[in-house]
């Protein structure tokens, strides 16, 4: 109780400006001061507020300090971009592999048959004087020249399929081998492999991711004379036919590779560039391909009727061509007995 009056008294003395013991003691306490860095910071702040040019120079210094940071950010962004592109490519490759695997599982027998038929076809076409591929002896010299008549002979309406044989003839052995090795891995196709000595490298485990890429590269492949062996050159007609059918099947299933048109254009461009101004005489093989292409668009029942008519007219080879393609497009379709029998023929 007696403390309050005492404090009041001291307070009055304090407020009156008298020197009290407490005030004297307070003045002896350590006198804290802002350090030089704090002073500099405040004064710099005051200067920057008044002088705009100082404000402008600060970002420049900041930019200079941030330079390594920008480098790191740029590197990180580049890595992310590369990873994204790689991921997209991987997805595309996997999708293509799945499609090719699906084709191999769904119609292995049909594919095998088509290959045999395709290998037989050059004999047919030879009757119609189709220079689909050079003879083994003439292969090295005529490889480039033979491209021209084939491609230019293609009908205007069927540029893609017309370009197929030409492009195949033109393509290098490496992509061809890659395509072939992919087929060798699929069941039912291995029996129709390359002649001995011309076989490609050992097949990779299925699914072979780079295979679609390899199959898609012929547009930029080097000329044929670089590495074509005689055996490979002999295989070219078969490969050309084989690829034509495969390409048709891909078209039918809607899984057309994105660069197919580019390949056709590239082939056409190379043809133009090679100076084949004079149009070659019409060829049978592309015409048959064009007919097949048209048949792909037919309803299944109509197509079956057409094949039956071909059989009745004795055009067995054409019927077999159509049937092979038909079975790829409609693998579950129940065929009439005569066509079923045709499909079972070796």
């Amino acid at each position: 109780m007696s403390g309050k009056p005492s404090s009041d008294h001291e307070l009055e003395r304090l407020l009156a400006g008298e020197e009290t013991a407490t005030a004297a003691l307070y003045r002896r306490l350590p006198a804290a001061e802002p350090d030089a860095a704090l002073d500099a910071a405040v004064l710099a702040m005051a200067h920057r507020a008044v002088n705009p040019h100082l404000r402008a120079t600060l970002p420049a210094r900041a930019r200079a300090r941030l330079h390594p940071w920008w480098l790191a950010l740029g590197s990180a962004a580049g890595l992310v971009l590369a990873a994204g592109v790689a991921w997209q490519l991987r997805s595309t490759i996997e999708q293509n592999s799945r499609e090719s695997a699906l084709r191999g599982v769904v119609a292995p027998a049909a594919e095998g048959r088509i290959e045999v038929q395709a290998r037989d076809e050059p004999a047919h076409r030879a009757d119609h004087a189709v220079p689909a591929a050079p003879t083994p002896a003439a292969a090295p010299a005529a490889a480039a020249a033979n491209v021209e008549p084939q491609a230019s002979a293609a009908p205007a309406g069927a540029t893609a399929q017309g370009a197929v044989p030409a492009e195949r003839t033109e393509s290098a052995p490496a992509p061809a081998r890659a395509t072939r090795s992919r087929r060798e891995e699929q069941p039912g196709v291995t029996e129709y492999t390359l002649p001995s000595g011309a076989a490609g490298p050992a097949p990779r485990p299925f699914p072979a991711a780079p295979a679609p890429e390899a199959a898609a590269t012929p547009a930029v492949a080097p000329p044929a004379e670089e590495g074509l062996s005689k055996a490979q050159a002999a295989r070219l007609p078969a490969d050309a036919a084989e690829d034509a059918v495969e390409r048709k099947a891909r078209l039918a299933s809607g899984a057309r590779p994105p660069d197919a048109a580019g390949e056709a254009e590239a082939a056409a461009t190379s043809d133009k560039a090679s100076g084949s101004a004079t149009p070659a005489p019409p060829l049978v093989a592309p015409n048959r391909s064009a007919v097949l292409q048209q048949n792909l668009r037919l309803p299944p029942a109509t197509w079956v009727g057409l094949m039956q008519q071909l059989l009745r007219e004795g055009r067995r080879a054409e019927a077999r061509d159509n049937l092979a393609l038909f079975q790829r497009k409609y693998p579950a379709y129940r065929l009439p007995p005569e066509l079923a029998a045709l499909s079972r023929e070796p």
């Binding site: 407490t22 003691l25 802002p34 005051a46 008044v50």
Partner: protein
């Protein structure tokens, strides 16, 4: 020239772009403001931060400054508001009951109090601890009086409290100090 100018004139000059005026103003008040903050916050890092913030606000409003009050009052108002914001988050307030108990213990006459016989270092240490322990409002009023020589009216203007409230806070602050010396 600027040494003879008042705080308000210096602040107006800085508002017109005279950096020298700010330097003078800053030189006048940097120590007292910093000590005020140190006493209030008891932490150098916090004091540095608030100190810089106070001056940055002064700089920001330089062109709008009008000398309607003393510059020191205005400066301390800024500091006070920032410190109060910080204290609201940090320290509980001391109740009135505790303050009454404090006065009941201060019975001894001034000449018989123990601080008379304590050493210089110990006296400073006890005052320091008394300041640290007292409520922020009491300490603030006390430090304003000690550092800036502000009267009751000025302290009331800075803190927004009433005249009698400020007087009471000062009284309690002195009582706390005396209690610390009687322990």
């Amino acid at each position: 020239m600027q040494g003879e100018s008042s705080d308000e004139e210096l602040m107006l000059a800085y508002g017109r772009g005279e950096v020298r005026a700010f330097e003078s103003l800053y030189g006048r008040h940097r120590g007292t403001l910093y000590r005020f903050l140190m006493r209030q916050l008891g932490d150098r890092a916090a004091a540095d931060e608030i100190f810089q913030e106070v001056w940055s606000r002064v700089i920001a409003v330089r062109e709008r400054y009008r000398p309607e009050a003393k510059f020191t009052t205005w400066l301390l108002q800024i500091a006070h508001n920032l410190v109060v914001d910080l204290h609201r988050r940090q320290r509980p307030q001391v109740g009135a009951a505790e303050a009454e108990a404090l006065f009941r213990n201060l019975d001894a006459p001034e000449e018989q109090r123990p601080e008379r016989v304590l050493g210089e270092f110990e006296q400073r240490r006890r005052l320091q601890r008394a300041l640290e322990d007292m409520p922020a409002e009491q300490r603030e009023a006390f430090v304003m009086r000690m550092e800036w020589g502000l009267g009751l009216e000025d302290i009331a203007a800075v803190t927004g409290a009433g005249h009698e409230t400020v007087k009471s806070r000062l009284r309690y602050a002195l009582a706390k100090i005396r209690q610390r010396f009687s322990e």
